[in-house]
């Protein structure tokens, strides 16, 4: 049974799914909201189609800069957006973001799930040199412990 970390955020927005989806996939709109507080988008490039992708450059109020890129693995207008997520500083660490757009009476319910943060190979790789040392140490302590 596996139990890997993920982040889930749900928001109801008073706008139709078409406008919400557009805000995610048009660079001029993306620049107006994307990113946390005390951060703004310096530039956004979006290739808005299945198999397309994006690159966003973020500038924090404190002057720190960050760049993130991704590829759209699912692009279903007004319904579903799934993309990879990798900071330019760690391109090999690729996670996944899934965004669903569900029509509700007041507008749109947006559900965002960010997961696949952890590399399962290295997470489950217990074969390191020091593991053997710990096993020998553990065996020695077992004798003392059960004496």
């Amino acid at each position: 049974m596996s139990c890997m970390p993920s982040v889930t955020i749900v928001r109801r927005i008073k706008a139709p799914p078409s406008r919400v989806f557009e805000a995610w996939t048009q660079p001029e709109a993306l620049m107006r909201w994307f990113g946390p507080h005390r951060t703004r988008v310096e530039s956004a490039e979006v290739d808005a189609r299945p198999g397309g992708g994006f690159t966003v450059r973020l500038l924090e109020d404190n002057g720190d800069r960050h760049q993130v890129s991704g590829t759209y693995t699912e692009f279903d207008p007004e319904r579903l957006l799934v993309f990879t997520w990798a900071w330019v500083s760690t391109p090999e660490r690729e996670s996944r973001v899934m965004v669903t757009f569900r029509p509700v009476p007041e507008g749109t319910e947006v559900t965002l799930i960010h997961d696949r943060f952890v590399d399962p190979v290295s997470a489950n790789n217990h074969r390191r040199g020091w593991t053997e040392s710990f096993e020998r140490l553990g065996e020695a302590f077992t004798e003392a412990d059960t004496a």
């Binding site: 049974m1 596996s2 139990c3 890997m4 970390p5 982040v7 955020i9 928001r11 927005i13 008073k14 706008a15 406008r19 919400v20 557009e22 805000a23 048009q26 001029e28 709109a29 107006r32 909201w33 994307f34 990113g35 946390p36 507080h37 973020l58 924090e60 720190d64 960050h66 900071w87 500083s89 760690t90 660490r93 947006v110 965002l112 960010h114 943060f117 952890v118 590399d119 399962p120 290295s122 997470a123 489950n124 790789n125 217990h126 390191r128 020091w130 593991t131 710990f134 096993e135 553990g138 302590f141 077992t142 003392a144 412990d145 059960t146 004496a147």
Partner: protein, 116 residues
């Protein structure tokens, strides 16, 4: 922004993925400083099997084993778990604040004009 110590995070989350290891941590949370045999006692598995799990937990920095006289005591070490949780919390905040700003943008601005 939210990326740091990826190998350590992999080990912590990898350690937490196993229900026996989560149960071992929960046991120590209730009663810290148990000896290995005291800790292993309720689990229906061999002592070597439990010790393999303890190796993984120790490798992730989640527990420390210390000799105390003739006993080896297992203790929780809080920092890696706190680091992992705060790392996740940063991502939660990133997206929560982004979606707040998305709502504000869509609910306050008039619809964008489509270019001809």
């Amino acid at each position: 922004m939210v990326n740091h110590q990826p190998a350590q995070l992999d080990r912590v989350f990898g350690a937490l993925t196993d229900p026996t290891r989560r149960a071992l941590l929960a046991r120590l949370d209730k009663e810290d400083g148990l000896s290995i045999s005291e800790l292993a006692q309720p689990f229906e598995m061999s002592l070597p099997a439990v010790m393999k799990h303890l190796d993984v937990l120790e490798g992730a920095g989640l527990i420390a084993r210390q000799k105390n006289g003739r006993k080896v005591e297992c203790r929780l070490t809080a920092a890696p778990m706190e680091d992992a949780m705060s790392w996740l919390a940063r991502y939660a905040r990133f997206w929560s604040e982004s979606l707040d700003r998305l709502a504000a943008y869509l609910e306050e601005a008039p619809p964008m004009e489509k270019s001809p």
